[in-house]
């Protein structure tokens, strides 16, 4: 395995339902994510985006195939090991933030390192630098109900980054935000990706959001349909390319409905 591969999925299949009524949502996906990439996953509704993310993020199990994150084969791990793995190696950003209402911004952010492997002073330093980058230092002692959606998502992002994960999964992170907060958040994620070298995998249906990525993977009917690399293109140009592919994809899905 190459040194700089963060995630390597081979022939990943996932079916739901019982015998006689099986629905295959993922039909053999091969995907390799390199360190420092910012990968967007797009596709029409029902293409299996969220299922793929759940499977890759160890929240759900595959029916078939193997997934390596770093050097660990997560498809062979036990539940308890998976939990520990998620806590230590992965970060999550959710569409509806999933902050705990009863905790302040700072307490929410520090939650993933709360089982004590990290020294308190180190955690404090991490918190300061991350809160600085995400611009939420002033909010540390506020409760989620006191801050805006954009600020909540930044808090959620900070929580995903606090344990220096090797891979961050984002599920429609801009889905609940207005366009200004969304682009501001995506800009920050791009910065984090470029400056700190954090690998990010983001599921989205918004072409604007995916234009911030370095690569966009299109899913259709549980398979990879195509891939686009941004390379040196401007965001605008990349956006246009994405739109083209999405037009083809989206048209099909409308027909099949």
């Amino acid at each position: 395995m190459e040194q700089n591969t963060v995630l390597h999925a081979q022939n990943v299949r996932k079916s739901f339902g019982t015998r006689g009524n099986v629905q295959e949502v993922l039909r053999g996906i091969d995907l390799r994510v390199l360190k420092g990439e910012f990968v967007g996953i797009m596709g029409p509704s029902g293409a299996g985006k969220t299922t793929l993310l759940n499977v890759l993020a160890t929240i759900d199990r595959t029916t078939e195939g193997s997934i390596l994150i770093g050097n660990a084969d997560i498809s062979r791990m036990k539940d308890r090991e998976l939990s520990a793995f998620r806590r230590d190696k992965l970060g999550f950003i959710f569409q509806d933030y999933n902050l705990l209402d009863t905790l302040t911004v700072k307490e929410n952010i520090l939650l993933p390192v709360s089982l004590g492997k990290m020294h308190k002073r180190v955690a404090e330093d991490h918190f300061k630098s991350i809160a600085d980058i995400l611009g939420i230092k002033e909010l540390a002692n506020k409760y989620p109900h006191e801050i805006s959606g954009g600020q909540k998502q930044r808090t959620s992002a900070a929580r995903a980054l606090i344990n220096k994960p090797s891979l961050v999964f984002a599920d429609e992170p801009t889905g609940a935000l207005d366009s200004k907060s969304a682009s501001s958040l995506l800009g920050t994620l791009e910065d984090v990706n470029k400056q700190r070298g954090v690998t990010i995998m983001m599921v989205t249906h918004d072409p604007v959001a995916s234009s911030y990525c370095s690569r966009v993977v299109f899913l259709k009917d549980g398979k990879i349909y195509s891939e686009l690399y941004r390379g040196d293109k401007t965001r605008q140009a990349f956006f246009q390319e994405i739109l083209k592919v999405q037009g083809v994809l989206g048209g099909d899905s409308v027909d099949t409905l």
Binding site: D79, R80, N98, L100, K106, S114, N141, Y143
Partner: protein
């Protein structure tokens, strides 16, 4: 689909939320029915001459009050839980009236079901309860339980009233809510505010201070202001308890959390943070639960202690099985003979001992004695230790020239008096100071002769007799005749003979066994009622805490899902939740226990014997049942956390 179908479906779907409520409801019905049955049971009425019936009536009203409050409270919790469902019905076009009808129909079916099952079960178990009651009051004849229509009717009427009440509650709830509000009701919860530094700190400390003051005062109530003191103790502890839950605990949590500076940790996030979030809403119910727990515990421990120590206490007041006697004439000796001859005829073996008693005037004169409370002058019965030994009473022998003080009627006052102290023995001509080295519990002669008794050794007795008694004073000498039954099992028989005998001779009826039986009846009834009220109360408060926690668990399901996605295992999360439950169940219990311990301590002057053992047993049982509810709650949380991801 008719409304009725809808009701059946929703009930079937909601059964897992209901079953505990349903059981609690059935349980209330069963107990109420049992009480109603016993209240009207001819055997009970006859056995007690009506007093038991009245006791059950009062207890029934109290039970009704507890059950009613519980049902209304539980109903309110369920209404809130189901607000989304109610909102959904309205959203799909049901009118408010139809929704109310649906809920009321459901409630009626549920309650009627509980009532039917409860009465049925009540009929089966009421016989068991009657047997238990009769055993407790020491009656062992044949008991036949009659089916009481009045009891059934009474139960039905009462629970129909409760159904009407809850229906009204639902009607009001449905009418007053808006669609939007209904959908949000489950999310509502207050957000912790930063407490105002000075005011909160003051109130927080005041809460602790008030409780401490109440405890302190409870140990010093015995003076002329007894009644006012009692009210002050009640007021300060209850206010203190409320402040404790409303301010002190939040304040302490806030300080603790502030010091963590955001590094709260998973356990803290799941315990302190969520508790702080809901403390304001929970303060009232926790206060009520704590105060009522304390009252129930005190009642239970008190009545159990009374029951537990009946035999000992009666024996210490009536050390002899039977006693005849008087001063001067010899009439009693003849009567005693009649009685013992009758015993002989019936084949009851006994020990007969005449005990000589010298009656003198006594006087307290030292500062430390209870002269403030007791008249300075009193009548003393001087008894020779040797004769008491002969009568089969096991006593401690005082040292030469000193005496032991016995008087059951003032023991509760005298037991704190410092020994040794002196009393002056007088007759019109002589006086003698005698040193009292011990105040002993109970009597050494039976009432009504007992009075204040001083026990001295043989040598000292003869000396005093020589000094005080001459021909003029011969009327001060008396003889009491002690009759002790050798075989314990023949006590009842002997008692009957004695009662016939006293009736014939027109004498007062005072004897150990008779007193024992009537005390047993009284305390047995007390423990029966206290026990069942306590049980009902325990089950209602336990269920209410359980329901509240169930609701909280459902509200926090999303948090658990997030935590598990972040990589915390079920075990990690449960550790925090268990901490929270230790607090939710433990704090009201511990404070309630503390309150009740001080209450029992304050009331301990009522008891002659040490009540640590029975009070501890009663409390241990209470704690055990409470623990079951805590375990049920933790189980529900575990299920919720497991299902969250």
């Amino acid at each position: 689909m008719t409304l009725f179908d809808l009701v059946i479906r929703s009930m079937r779907k909601n059964i897992k939320h209901y079953y505990l409520y349903f059981f609690a409801l059935i349980f209330s019905v069963v107990l109420y029915f049992v009480f109603a049955t016993l209240q009207h049971d001819p055997a009970v009425v006859q056995q007690s001459g009506g007093t038991m019936g009245t006791a059950f009536k009062v207890a029934g009203i109290l039970l009704l009050f507890i059950a009613g409050t519980f049902v209304v409270y539980a109903n309110a919790i369920f209404l809130k839980r189901r607000s989304r469902e109610i909102g959904l019905y309205q959203l799909i076009g049901l009118t408010k009236g139809a929704v109310a009808r649906l809920l009321i129909l459901e409630n009626t079916l549920l309650s009627a079901g509980a009532m039917a099952i409860g009465i049925g079960a009540g009929m089966i178990v009421s016989r068991l309860f009657l047997l238990l009651l009769m055993k407790l009051v020491g009656f062992d004849g044949f008991i036949e339980l009659t089916f009481s229509k009045t009891a059934v009717l009474q139960t039905i009427i009462v629970f129909i009233a409760i159904i009407l009440l809850t229906s009204l509650q639902m009607l009001v709830a449905v009418r007053r809510t808006t669609l939007l509000g209904l959908f949000n009701a489950e999310k509502q919860g207050e957000h912790p505010k930063k407490p105002k530094a000075v005011r909160s700190a003051f109130l927080a400390l005041l809460g602790i201070g008030l409780i401490a003051f109440g405890y302190w005062l409870s140990g010093r109530m015995m003076n002329v202001f007894l009644f006012i003191n009692m009210l002050v103790v009640l007021a300060t502890t209850i206010t203190g308890t409320y402040l404790l839950f409303r301010v002190t605990i939040s304040w302490l949590f806030y300080q603790l959390r502030k010091r963590k500076q955001g590094h709260l940790g998973l356990n803290g996030s799941l315990s302190i943070a969520t508790l702080m979030h809901r403390m304001k809403g929970n303060a009232n119910s926790l206060t009520i639960i704590t105060v009522l727990s304390a009252m129930t515990l005190a009642m239970l421990a008190g009545s159990y202690s009374l029951y537990y120590s009946t035999e000992r206490e009666t024996r210490s007041i009536y050390p002899h099985d039977f006693m005849f006697g008087g001063y001067g004439d010899a009439q009693e000796e003849k009567e005693t003979k009649q009685f013992t001859e009758e015993l002989d005829r019936q084949g009851i073996s006994y020990l007969y001992t005449p005990i000589e008693v010298m009656n003198l005037d006594g006087q307290f004169f030292e500062e430390a004695t209870m002269t403030k409370w007791l008249p300075q002058m009193f009548s003393v019965n001087l008894v020779n230790e040797k004769q008491l030994q002969q009568a089969g009473i096991d006593i401690e022998i005082p040292d030469g020239r000193t005496a032991y003080f016995y008087d059951a009627s003032v023991y509760w006052l005298m037991k704190t008096t410092e020994v040794p102290f002196s009393v002056k023995l007088t007759n019109p001509e002589k006086e003698l100071d005698v040193s009292i080295t011990k105040v002993k519990e109970g009597n050494i002669l039976n009432p009504p002769f007992a009075g204040t008794q001083l026990v001295v050794d043989d040598e000292f007795y003869q000396e005093i007799k020589e000094q005080f008694i001459n021909e003029e004073e011969a009327h001060r000498m008396g003889t009491f005749f002690s009759v002790m039954i050798s075989d314990k099992d023949q006590q009842a028989e002997a008692s009957e003979i004695y009662q016939d005998f006293t009736k014939e001779n027109d004498r007062l009826n005072f004897h150990y066994y008779g007193q024992y039986v009537s005390t047993m009846q009284y305390t047995g009834l007390l423990i029966f009622i206290a026990g069942f009220l306590g049980l009902v109360f325990l089950i209602s408060t336990g269920s209410i805490l359980y329901f509240k926690q169930m609701t909280e668990a459902d509200q926090e399901k999303r948090s658990y899902a997030t935590l598990r996605q972040l990589g915390f295992t079920v075990q990690d999360i449960m550790r925090g939740i268990v901490r929270k439950q230790v607090f939710v169940f433990g704090v009201p219990l511990v404070i309630g226990l503390l309150h009740s311990i001080f209450a029992i301590k304050a009331a301990s002057f009522l008891f002659m014997s040490d009540i640590t053992v029975p009070a501890s047993i009663a409390m241990a049982i209470y704690v055990l049942i409470y623990l079951i509810f805590a375990l049920l709650t933790v189980g529900y949380y575990r299920k919720t956390v497991k299902a969250a991801l």
